[in-house]
Symmetry: C2
C-alpha cells in the first residue's frame, strides 16, 4: 500500500473540525505539519512518547495484541493518533459520539 503524505495531509486537514495535522516518522521527527515549528516539536515529542507507552501497555497486557489508534480528549480539543510507520496526529475540535454511554 502506498502512502501519499501530501495527499493525506490535505485530505485530513480539510475535514471539518480539524485544527491541525502533524505527520511524524518512526523516530518522532515531523515530516509534515500544519502547526508552527515549536508546537510541532512539542507535540511530536510528547505524543510520540505517549504512543510508545500505550503500545507497551497493550503488549504487556497481551503480547498478541497491538495498539491501532489513540484518542486523547481534552477540555479544549481532541488529539487523534494513528500509529504506524508514519504517525498522524490530528487535533480535532469535534466530538465523537460515544457509542456506549
Amino acid at each position: 500500500m502506498t502512502f501519499d503524505v501530501d495527499e493525506t495531509l490535505k485530505r485530513i486537514s480539510g475535514k471539518k473540525g480539524v485544527k491541525a495535522v502533524v505527520i511524524v516518522n518512526a523516530e518522532g521527527a515531523a515530516i509534515r505539519s500544519t502547526l508552527d515549528h515549536e508546537l510541532t516539536k512539542q507535540y511530536g515529542q510528547l505524543i510520540a512518547s505517549l504512543v510508545q507507552q500505550a503500545k507497551t501497555a497493550v503488549k504487556t497486557l497481551d503480547d498478541q495484541n497491538d495498539l491501532t489508534f489513540l484518542r486523547v480528549r481534552t477540555k479544549k480539543h481532541e488529539i487523534m493518533i494513528a500509529p504506524g510507520i508514519l504517525k498522524i496526529f490530528i487535533i480535532n475540535i469535534g466530538r465523537c459520539i460515544l457509542t456506549i454511554f
Copy 2:
C-alpha cells in the same frame, strides 16, 4: 454531584459491546471490577500510568488545558478511560464511528 459506584458499574457493564469495567480510586487501586483479580491489577497499574502520562503531556502543551477522556484502540478491543476522582476503564469490543475520516 454524587457518584453511585455500583449503579455506574451496572449501567456501563450492561451496555452492548462492553466486555469489562474497572473502577479505580485516585491511587490506582481497583474498588470495583468485572475482571479477575490479576487482570484488574495489571490493567489498573498500566492504565493509571498511561493516564498520568497523558495528563502531564496535555498540561505541558497548555497549562490551561486538561485531559477529559482517553481511548486506546487495539486490534482486539478498545479501552476507554474517564479520568476523574474515580477512573473508569471500559473495555469495549465496539467501534466508534470516526467522524473525521
